[in-house]
Protein backbone atom coordinates (compact mmCIF):
# COMPACT_ATOMS: atom_id res chain seq x y z
CA UNK A 1 0.00 0.00 0.00
CA UNK A 2 1.61 3.29 -1.06
CA UNK A 3 1.63 6.54 0.90
CA UNK A 4 -1.34 8.08 -0.93
CA UNK A 5 -3.51 5.03 -0.31
CA UNK A 6 -2.75 5.23 3.40
CA UNK A 7 -4.35 8.69 3.47
CA UNK A 8 -7.68 6.94 2.81
CA UNK A 9 -6.90 3.60 4.46
CA UNK A 10 -5.98 5.09 7.83
CA UNK A 11 -9.17 7.20 8.16
CA UNK A 12 -11.24 4.27 6.81
CA UNK A 13 -9.85 1.79 9.33
CA UNK A 14 -9.95 4.41 12.11
CA UNK A 15 -13.57 5.37 11.34
CA UNK A 16 -14.63 1.70 11.12
CA UNK A 17 -12.89 0.93 14.43
CA UNK A 18 -14.23 3.95 16.32
CA UNK A 19 -17.79 3.70 14.99
CA UNK A 20 -17.82 -0.02 15.77
CA UNK A 21 -16.67 0.63 19.35
CA UNK A 22 -19.72 2.90 19.82
CA UNK A 23 -22.12 0.33 18.34
CA UNK A 24 -20.61 -2.73 20.05
CA UNK A 25 -20.62 -1.00 23.46
CA UNK A 26 -24.37 -0.36 23.04
CA UNK A 27 -25.04 -3.97 22.02
CA UNK A 28 -22.81 -5.27 24.84
CA UNK A 29 -24.88 -3.34 27.43
CA UNK A 30 -28.07 -5.14 26.36
CA UNK A 31 -26.40 -8.57 26.10
CA UNK A 32 -24.93 -8.08 29.58
CA UNK A 33 -28.36 -7.11 30.96
CA UNK A 34 -29.78 -10.33 29.49
CA UNK A 35 -26.90 -12.39 30.88
CA UNK A 36 -27.17 -10.80 34.33
CA UNK A 37 -30.89 -11.48 34.53
CA UNK A 38 -31.18 -14.89 32.82
CA UNK A 39 -27.64 -16.25 32.57
CA UNK A 40 -25.28 -16.47 29.62
CA UNK A 41 -27.21 -19.17 27.72
CA UNK A 42 -29.98 -16.95 26.24
CA UNK A 43 -27.50 -14.06 25.89
CA UNK A 44 -25.02 -16.14 23.88
CA UNK A 45 -27.78 -17.86 21.89
CA UNK A 46 -29.35 -14.50 20.92
CA UNK A 47 -25.96 -13.02 20.05
CA UNK A 48 -24.90 -16.06 17.99
CA UNK A 49 -28.20 -16.06 16.08
CA UNK A 50 -27.85 -12.35 15.28
CA UNK A 51 -24.23 -12.82 14.16
CA UNK A 52 -25.35 -15.67 11.90
CA UNK A 53 -28.02 -13.44 10.29
CA UNK A 54 -25.45 -10.65 9.84
CA UNK A 55 -22.95 -13.07 8.29
CA UNK A 56 -25.64 -14.35 5.93
CA UNK A 57 -26.42 -10.77 4.85
CA UNK A 58 -22.74 -10.11 4.17
CA UNK A 59 -22.39 -13.34 2.18
CA UNK A 60 -25.51 -12.59 0.10
CA UNK A 61 -25.06 -8.85 -0.42
CA UNK A 62 -21.25 -8.65 -0.47
CA UNK A 63 -20.69 -10.05 -3.99
CA UNK A 64 -23.38 -7.71 -5.39
CA UNK A 65 -21.21 -4.71 -4.50
CA UNK A 66 -18.58 -5.79 -7.02
CA UNK A 67 -21.17 -5.64 -9.84
CA UNK A 68 -22.12 -2.00 -9.25
CA UNK A 69 -20.13 0.50 -11.36
CA UNK A 70 -17.62 2.33 -9.13
CA UNK A 71 -18.93 5.85 -9.86
CA UNK A 72 -22.53 4.87 -9.05
CA UNK A 73 -21.36 3.04 -5.91
CA UNK A 74 -19.39 6.10 -4.77
CA UNK A 75 -22.37 8.39 -5.34
CA UNK A 76 -24.90 6.19 -3.52
CA UNK A 77 -22.55 5.43 -0.63
CA UNK A 78 -21.44 9.07 -0.52
CA UNK A 79 -25.01 10.32 -0.14
CA UNK A 80 -25.83 7.65 2.48
CA UNK A 81 -22.66 8.61 4.34
CA UNK A 82 -23.66 12.28 4.28
CA UNK A 83 -27.08 11.38 5.72
CA UNK A 84 -25.66 9.04 8.34
CA UNK A 85 -22.48 10.98 9.22
CA UNK A 86 -24.08 14.42 9.42
CA UNK A 87 -26.87 12.88 11.53
CA UNK A 88 -24.28 11.58 14.00
CA UNK A 89 -22.37 14.86 13.95
CA UNK A 90 -25.57 16.86 14.58
CA UNK A 91 -26.45 14.67 17.56
CA UNK A 92 -22.89 14.76 18.94
CA UNK A 93 -22.81 18.58 18.66
CA UNK A 94 -26.18 18.87 20.45
CA UNK A 95 -25.00 16.51 23.22
CA UNK A 96 -21.67 18.29 23.51
CA UNK A 97 -23.52 21.63 23.78
CA UNK A 98 -25.74 20.24 26.53
CA UNK A 99 -28.91 20.53 24.41
CA UNK A 100 -29.42 16.73 24.42
CA UNK A 101 -28.56 14.46 27.34
CA UNK A 102 -25.48 12.25 26.97
CA UNK A 103 -26.07 8.55 26.26
CA UNK A 104 -25.78 6.68 29.56
CA UNK A 105 -24.86 2.97 29.42
CA UNK A 106 -25.75 2.49 33.11
CA UNK A 107 -29.24 3.90 32.42
CA UNK A 108 -29.60 1.74 29.27
CA UNK A 109 -28.57 -1.32 31.31
CA UNK A 110 -31.10 -0.47 34.05
CA UNK A 111 -33.87 0.16 31.50
CA UNK A 112 -33.26 -3.16 29.71
CA UNK A 113 -33.12 -5.06 33.03
CA UNK A 114 -36.39 -3.42 34.15
CA UNK A 115 -38.11 -4.18 30.83
CA UNK A 116 -37.02 -7.84 30.96
CA UNK A 117 -38.08 -8.20 34.60
CA UNK A 118 -41.54 -6.79 33.84
CA UNK A 119 -41.87 -9.02 30.79
CA UNK A 120 -40.84 -11.98 32.96
CA UNK A 121 -43.64 -11.25 35.43
CA UNK A 122 -46.18 -11.33 32.60
CA UNK A 123 -44.76 -14.42 30.85
CA UNK A 124 -42.57 -16.31 33.36
CA UNK A 125 -42.44 -19.46 31.22
CA UNK A 126 -40.99 -17.72 28.19
CA UNK A 127 -38.51 -15.37 29.87
CA UNK A 128 -35.42 -17.14 28.48
CA UNK A 129 -36.86 -16.85 24.99
CA UNK A 130 -37.71 -13.13 25.50
CA UNK A 131 -34.26 -12.45 26.97
CA UNK A 132 -32.55 -14.20 24.04
CA UNK A 133 -34.69 -12.20 21.64
CA UNK A 134 -33.57 -8.99 23.37
CA UNK A 135 -29.91 -9.92 22.84
CA UNK A 136 -30.67 -10.95 19.24
CA UNK A 137 -32.32 -7.61 18.39
CA UNK A 138 -29.58 -5.52 20.02
CA UNK A 139 -26.75 -7.34 18.23
CA UNK A 140 -28.64 -7.41 14.91
CA UNK A 141 -29.53 -3.70 14.92
CA UNK A 142 -26.12 -2.46 16.08
CA UNK A 143 -24.43 -5.00 13.77
CA UNK A 144 -26.34 -3.65 10.76
CA UNK A 145 -24.90 -0.21 11.49
CA UNK A 146 -21.39 -1.69 11.74
CA UNK A 147 -21.84 -3.46 8.39
CA UNK A 148 -23.03 -0.25 6.74
CA UNK A 149 -20.09 1.72 8.12
CA UNK A 150 -17.58 -0.92 6.98
CA UNK A 151 -19.09 -0.98 3.47
CA UNK A 152 -19.40 2.79 3.34
CA UNK A 153 -15.82 3.64 4.28
CA UNK A 154 -14.25 0.63 2.56
CA UNK A 155 -16.10 -0.02 -0.69
CA UNK A 156 -15.22 3.20 -2.52
CA UNK A 157 -11.53 2.30 -2.81
CA UNK A 158 -11.65 -1.48 -2.48
CA UNK A 159 -10.67 -1.44 1.20
CA UNK A 160 -13.49 -3.56 2.58
CA UNK A 161 -11.02 -5.98 4.14
CA UNK A 162 -9.12 -3.23 5.97
CA UNK A 163 -12.32 -1.59 7.21
CA UNK A 164 -13.70 -4.97 8.32
CA UNK A 165 -10.46 -5.56 10.21
CA UNK A 166 -10.97 -2.25 12.03
CA UNK A 167 -14.51 -3.29 12.99
CA UNK A 168 -13.37 -6.75 14.10
CA UNK A 169 -10.65 -5.18 16.25
CA UNK A 170 -13.30 -2.98 17.88
CA UNK A 171 -15.49 -6.01 18.65
CA UNK A 172 -12.52 -7.85 20.15
CA UNK A 173 -11.48 -4.83 22.22
CA UNK A 174 -14.98 -4.22 23.62
CA UNK A 175 -15.56 -7.91 24.38
CA UNK A 176 -12.15 -8.20 26.07
CA UNK A 177 -12.70 -5.12 28.26
CA UNK A 178 -16.32 -6.16 28.89
CA UNK A 179 -15.27 -9.64 29.99
CA UNK A 180 -12.77 -8.15 32.42
CA UNK A 181 -14.91 -5.41 34.00
CA UNK A 182 -18.20 -7.36 33.65
CA UNK A 183 -20.44 -4.29 33.81
CA UNK A 184 -21.76 -1.69 31.33
CA UNK A 185 -18.87 0.19 29.73
CA UNK A 186 -20.08 3.58 30.92
CA UNK A 187 -16.55 5.04 31.01
CA UNK A 188 -16.25 4.91 27.22
CA UNK A 189 -16.37 8.56 26.05
CA UNK A 190 -19.23 7.76 23.69
CA UNK A 191 -20.02 11.30 22.58
CA UNK A 192 -16.39 12.14 21.83
CA UNK A 193 -16.15 8.97 19.71
CA UNK A 194 -19.46 9.79 18.03
CA UNK A 195 -18.23 13.32 17.30
CA UNK A 196 -15.04 11.96 15.72
CA UNK A 197 -16.92 9.35 13.70
CA UNK A 198 -19.48 11.95 12.56
CA UNK A 199 -16.60 14.13 11.34
CA UNK A 200 -14.94 11.22 9.47
CA UNK A 201 -18.16 9.85 7.92
CA UNK A 202 -19.27 13.33 6.79
CA UNK A 203 -15.82 13.85 5.22
CA UNK A 204 -16.03 10.50 3.41
CA UNK A 205 -19.56 11.48 2.35
CA UNK A 206 -18.44 14.72 0.69
CA UNK A 207 -15.44 12.92 -0.85
CA UNK A 208 -17.34 9.96 -2.37
CA UNK A 209 -20.36 12.06 -3.41
CA UNK A 210 -18.03 14.47 -5.19
CA UNK A 211 -16.13 11.64 -6.90
CA UNK A 212 -19.44 10.03 -7.87
CA UNK A 213 -20.48 13.32 -9.50
CA UNK A 214 -17.20 13.43 -11.44
CA UNK A 215 -15.33 15.92 -9.25
CA UNK A 216 -11.57 15.39 -9.06
CA UNK A 217 -10.56 16.74 -5.68
CA UNK A 218 -7.31 18.72 -5.54
CA UNK A 219 -4.67 16.68 -3.72
CA UNK A 220 -6.72 13.52 -4.44
CA UNK A 221 -7.06 11.46 -1.24
CA UNK A 222 -5.48 14.20 0.86
CA UNK A 223 -8.67 16.25 0.36
CA UNK A 224 -10.31 13.81 2.78
CA UNK A 225 -8.12 15.05 5.61
CA UNK A 226 -8.89 18.69 4.72
CA UNK A 227 -12.63 17.92 4.84
CA UNK A 228 -12.16 16.25 8.23
CA UNK A 229 -10.48 19.37 9.62
CA UNK A 230 -13.25 21.58 8.18
CA UNK A 231 -16.03 19.42 9.71
CA UNK A 232 -14.15 19.18 13.02
CA UNK A 233 -13.74 22.95 13.28
CA UNK A 234 -17.36 23.54 12.21
CA UNK A 235 -18.69 20.95 14.70
CA UNK A 236 -16.58 22.24 17.59
CA UNK A 237 -17.54 25.85 16.74
CA UNK A 238 -21.24 24.95 16.64
CA UNK A 239 -21.01 23.13 19.98
CA UNK A 240 -19.38 26.20 21.53
CA UNK A 241 -21.95 28.58 20.05
CA UNK A 242 -24.91 26.47 21.20
CA UNK A 243 -23.47 25.52 24.61
CA UNK A 244 -25.86 25.75 27.52
CA UNK A 245 -25.16 25.82 31.27
CA UNK A 246 -25.16 22.29 32.79
CA UNK A 247 -28.26 22.94 34.96
CA UNK A 248 -30.28 24.04 31.92
CA UNK A 249 -29.22 20.95 29.94
CA UNK A 250 -30.36 18.61 32.72
Amino acid sequence: MDGMTWTVAAPAVGAAFTASVVEVVEAFTIVLAVATLRGWRPAVAGTAAALAVLALLVVILGPLLGRVPLEALQLVIGVLLLLFGMGWLRKAVLRSAGVLALHDEEAAFAAETKALTEEGRKNPASLDWIAGLGAFKAVLLEGLEVIFIVIAVGAGRGMLGAAALGAAAACAAVLMVGAIVHKPLSKVPENTLKFGVGVMLSSFGVFWTGEGLGIEWPGADLALLVFAVVFLVAGAGLATLLRRPAAEAA
Binding site: L82, M86, L94, L144, V206, A234
Partner: protein
Protein backbone atom coordinates in the same frame (compact mmCIF):
# COMPACT_ATOMS: atom_id res chain seq x y z
CA UNK B 1 -42.79 -9.65 12.03
CA UNK B 2 -42.22 -7.25 14.92
CA UNK B 3 -38.47 -7.77 14.65
CA UNK B 4 -38.57 -7.14 10.90
CA UNK B 5 -40.53 -3.93 11.49
CA UNK B 6 -38.01 -2.82 14.11
CA UNK B 7 -35.09 -3.58 11.80
CA UNK B 8 -36.64 -1.60 8.94
CA UNK B 9 -37.53 1.28 11.27
CA UNK B 10 -33.97 1.28 12.64
CA UNK B 11 -32.51 1.28 9.12
CA UNK B 12 -34.71 4.25 8.15
CA UNK B 13 -33.71 6.07 11.34
CA UNK B 14 -30.04 5.55 10.47
CA UNK B 15 -30.42 7.82 7.46
CA UNK B 16 -33.41 9.96 8.41
CA UNK B 17 -32.65 10.86 12.02
CA UNK B 18 -33.72 14.42 11.17
CA UNK B 19 -36.03 14.75 8.17
CA UNK B 20 -34.96 18.35 7.46
CA UNK B 21 -31.32 17.34 7.34
CA UNK B 22 -32.00 14.39 5.04
CA UNK B 23 -34.17 16.40 2.63
CA UNK B 24 -31.69 19.29 2.58
CA UNK B 25 -28.75 16.95 1.81
CA UNK B 26 -30.65 15.25 -1.02
CA UNK B 27 -31.66 18.64 -2.48
CA UNK B 28 -28.05 19.84 -2.21
CA UNK B 29 -26.64 16.78 -4.00
CA UNK B 30 -29.30 17.15 -6.72
CA UNK B 31 -28.48 20.84 -7.10
CA UNK B 32 -24.74 20.12 -7.40
CA UNK B 33 -25.44 17.42 -10.01
CA UNK B 34 -27.53 19.92 -12.00
CA UNK B 35 -24.88 22.60 -11.62
CA UNK B 36 -22.26 20.25 -13.08
CA UNK B 37 -24.33 18.53 -15.77
CA UNK B 38 -26.72 21.26 -16.95
CA UNK B 39 -24.90 24.40 -15.79
CA UNK B 40 -21.52 23.03 -16.98
CA UNK B 41 -19.87 24.56 -13.92
CA UNK B 42 -16.23 23.75 -13.24
CA UNK B 43 -16.01 20.56 -11.12
CA UNK B 44 -14.23 22.41 -8.34
CA UNK B 45 -17.08 24.94 -8.13
CA UNK B 46 -19.45 21.99 -7.69
CA UNK B 47 -17.14 20.57 -5.01
CA UNK B 48 -17.04 23.87 -3.14
CA UNK B 49 -20.84 24.16 -3.27
CA UNK B 50 -21.16 20.57 -1.98
CA UNK B 51 -18.80 21.10 0.96
CA UNK B 52 -20.09 24.60 1.79
CA UNK B 53 -23.70 23.44 1.47
CA UNK B 54 -23.12 20.55 3.87
CA UNK B 55 -21.66 22.93 6.45
CA UNK B 56 -24.57 25.37 6.07
CA UNK B 57 -27.11 22.52 6.41
CA UNK B 58 -25.35 21.13 9.48
CA UNK B 59 -25.29 24.56 11.16
CA UNK B 60 -28.89 25.42 10.25
CA UNK B 61 -30.42 22.07 11.28
CA UNK B 62 -28.41 21.84 14.52
CA UNK B 63 -29.22 25.43 15.51
CA UNK B 64 -32.92 24.90 14.70
CA UNK B 65 -33.04 21.81 16.95
CA UNK B 66 -31.26 23.71 19.74
CA UNK B 67 -33.72 26.61 19.47
CA UNK B 68 -36.71 24.25 19.79
CA UNK B 69 -35.43 22.67 23.01
Amino acid sequence: MDILKEVVSELVKMFVADARLSVAVLVLVGAVALLLDVGHAAPLVGGAVLLGGCLVILAAVTAATARKR
